[in-house]
Assembly symmetry: D2
Homo-oligomer: 342 residues x 4
């Protein structure tokens, strides 16, 4: 299939990662993570995120989110998140189903929560009729391709902690955010006050896999059991964990994310110049959100794969991957021009 | 690490499967199973199991079991299973946690349920204080390496259906069972009356992945949502599904299973001749269960990887894989002889 | 304690109901509802709601809502409800916790859903990433004291059923609604298209107890088990069920509801004439919502018991009960006048 | 209905308790337990159980058990209980459904767990595949009418605490046990090492209601939310709580329990002398278990209400209540003699 702009999970596996997986296919190892490949990967994670981090490799993002939230919550507590957050919109209710908790949502202009936006749900403490706010959950980069800055994260962390709450980060595109900010992985997570993070791998070029990182020893104690119980413990773990070694060594994560971001920037810059196209969000990570006429969308989708984000206002989402090329962008931009012209 | 006898999941990936995965890493595809690799794999599954089968590829066995059971159960219903069944003993309570249901257990001499053994839990129908028996769950091959024959499965299916219940099969080592019986995959599942099956891949040489097969159209309707909600839907699905194509084409599943079974047979035959070793279960699939002196176990475990199955009676489990060699067996048997002699 | 206006559950038990309970305390009966008192009560319910109704007496409103919703839902389905609905705001997350389902909320001006308001959540059908809309839940009378008319209910029922969904009604103050509309109990429930109803007793003068009514035989089959599993099955059931006989015979339910509504009407009419008080919702049932100065609220609450509904806009709620008297209203109105004057 | 021997919940309400409920029906009070009746009842509970106890009144025994266990457990932990325990057999799976946890069962000769019997499940600590044993749950008096002595409770408490576990007590017939032992309520609960207790009221003559007692301040913090979320928070709480005041004042609990025990003792002593009747358990509380011919059971059940306990061995259960009279016993014994004679 032609490379499109539907999602960074439509891309395959980065060759260097696949090579690492092939290399790991050598002889026997103990299962479930008690192997040298996994220990090496855990070491690589700690080298980036610091010794206070407790890494747990899981199959996918929904799994990471559910387990991560579960380490922080009892069933009568609640999660505050953006109205368009992945945990609310795209996980078929898995968070409620498996934590038992309510998600309290907030509309946002740009996908980003702020203490001011969160405030409306920070009440009812001590009232048994109300769920008890306990976790603020943010997505980095956000579902609309924007990126929280370090001060923005810090402000939310301070606000959460000041209210006896935790700050959780769904980092499905965490690498893209770090690349965008020019920051290290730990600067925008544990150092900024994040309590639990899912560090996404799949959208960064892995075949599958996310790393759930718990930054508190006490909270981390439940994670191994929750991971198993949540059906997220791989038996042949080495093939999952070695992928993280591959992206963390030599900063492959950064190269891939920077490249994808760059392609999105290029695409955004070029489509902004096309009459009839309105870019609706700052292009800070690897996605471009734009409004264009319905007919043009239809024409384009017959040739390129991408999603309509919000049908009611003809808004589409174009996502770039580690393997998107300048030629891909140029070809796509030309097609957009043609679609708009006709 | 040296090839041991701890588990068939300590082996890596069969080269032919890995090759298929590498081949699938070509260009973009749609995510979550809407791709040609997955359609091909679904076709391969149906070619083996018949058109009435609805296949859903999932990450792992616990995931397959939980979703499979969930398609059949409401929260006040119950599962009857063997006391040493994987769903009861080895899944950290995931079935109860995610179906809400109680597991009613039965001791068995050889890991196999029979209508007579199940009978003790088949009561309380219509009594709201009691959970309502709804699913009989069997494991094929069983946790102790024995294999249900077709008439045995049929008897349980008829018994279950006669009581308004379903027959579920945890087929983590389903290929080994089919190879053992010399039967086709459908003869020992849908044709024998199984309602829902998890057809295991990981222990048959896959990197990861099981195929949940629902043999009723109506019951299958919930499975796509349950799979997503249970965090078992892979975004880059092609790398999961193409593995099933690889094992189902050219009967790779059969070669691998037959080989592993054969190695276990060889091992069982040889250790039976060693004084001080008692083989405790018929070797019908790819595992040997044996009792030997505690000191010999300790000596052997310092050199070979394997698990103590039941410490109180010095019973161990030795599992063979697709990659176990006759030399591995010979070397191990020699070591057992040495350990017993000393 | 002085009779206040905090809630209709601050009142005690209507003397006729208490008398019935005392009468029921005679000799032994079988437990859990297998007794003549309960059969009599079930008959009384069917006499009012029709033979298609399957009644299940439960301890409280949250219990009724949770079980009622559970009869209609699988865990990946969703409930659409008003943003201020009791199931969303006042049940400590019990619906999510016990159904596993997501609640999708809608802001409303007057507490009432309409097909137009519900529309925004009626999408994603067939998309496994999205929860599947399945139940529209409305409260009658609403949490802000308004009442759905029969055509309004019918419109929602038709809309729900047209989308393969159900219409659930939380009838904590169902009697007040019927009294307000001058309609029979069945006209505004089963005859208007309601699929499952919780017919509230506690706020109508019972000591405790609600009647969950399922209007479909097939759906009703799970209710007895769900009731037991949800810890809502009373062992000495006669003391619960006989209360329903008491209110359904001689239309005690109607007298009590009509009286409470009348007192609220009186209160609303009188406070509307007080400068500085704005009544914010139509007084259609037994509650008055009003905005008045913060200082006046504080003064009044030192003497009378009532709740601030929405602190940010100084809105309060005043609820009348079966035992509120004209003198109570007059005394309270006089106090409001004094508080406003000072 | 004639007073039978089916269950102590077939009896009605003790007149003194009903009188207290009638007295409480005076004027308005705040809802949900924020009232003087409830504070008085909490004081009465503390007077008996000590200041370390945190009481939470709930509707019924299943509710008390579920919430009590939930205060102690995370979803991957397990409860060890007797094979015939109420939480395992008679609650329609509510414990699994609402705690998410597995129940590990043990056969017992007399309904009583011992450290030796529990031992078989005390393994797998730290193994993520296994549920983690966390609570030992015992019933006092047991389901077969026997009573744990103080040293027996203490031994289990020490054993549990020594393994990092808790000791939970389902005290549905706790009053009967205390009466049997001639001990105070606290001597056989908190002073013997119990961590959480459900102190049963319904079977001791209440209309409805149990008191969940948490003996650790930290653990008690979740209970108010869990009670609400588990649908066990009564709005007109005074009518529940005042019943506990009634039984705790003037030791009504003890009189009722002692009387019921005495009637069971009388019944047991007399039926032991009837040829063809075998009493199968020590009569230590208010129940008699006996084996007698199937035809005799049938004859008797046509006249008296009681349950067959274990049909396969013709074992029946006869329970006495606070209102069982010597005449009731004499009449029943005479009927048994007649049934055996024919």
């Amino acid at each position: 299939m032609k490379r499109g702009f539907a999602s960074d999970n439509n891309a395959g596996v980065h060759p260097a990662i696949l090579a690492a997986m092939v290399r790991a296919n050598s002889g026997h190892t103990r299962g479930y993570g008690d192997d040298d490949y996994t220990r090496e990967a855990e070491g690589a994670v700690k080298a980036h995120f610091g010794e206070s981090c407790h890494p747990f490799f899981v199959f996918n993002g929904t799994g990471g989110n559910v387990i991560g939230l579960q380490t922080l919550l009892r069933s009568y507590e609640a999660v505050i998140c953006s109205e368009n957050s992945h945990i609310h919109v795209d996980e078929c209710g898995a968070p409620e189903r498996f934590t038992g908790c309510k998600l309290l949502t907030v509309p946002t202009p740009d996908g980003k929560l702020t203490p001011e936006l969160v405030e409306r749900h920070m009440h009812g403490f001590g009232d048994v009729h109300h769920v008890q706010p306990k976790v603020i959950s943010i997505t980095q980069a956000t579902e609309v391709g924007t990126v929280y800055t370090v001060p923005e994260i810090r402000a939310l962390a301070d606000y959460a902690h000041g209210h006896g709450c935790y700050l959780y980060m769904d980092g499905a595109r965490f690498a893209n955010a770090a690349a965008s900010l020019g920051a290290s992985l730990r600067e925008i997570s544990v150092d900024a006050g994040i309590d639990v993070l899912t560090f996404g791998g799949t959208k960064n070029g892995l075949m599958f896999g996310e790393a759930l990182l718990v930054f508190h020893e006490e909270l981390a104690k439940s994670a191994p059991y929750l991971r198993k119980q949540a059906m997220q413990l791989a038996s042949k773990m080495r093939f999952l964990s070695t992928q993280f070694t591959a992206i963390l060594e030599n900063d492959l994560w950064l190269q891939s994310a920077r490249h994808a971001n760059g392609m999105a920037k290029l695409l955004g810059d070029q489509v902004r110049q096309i009459p009839g196209v309105t870019v609706t969000q700052d292009v800070q990570a690897n996605a471009v959100f734009a409004v264009l006429p319905a007919e043009a969308i239809e024409t384009l989708q017959s040739e390129f794969s991408f999603y309509t984000w919000e049908a009611t206002r003809n808004e589409v989402r174009w996502v770039c991957s580690f393997d998107t090329t300048e030629d891909d962008v140029a070809e796509f931009v030309a097609a957009i021009r043609r679609a708009l012209a006709s």
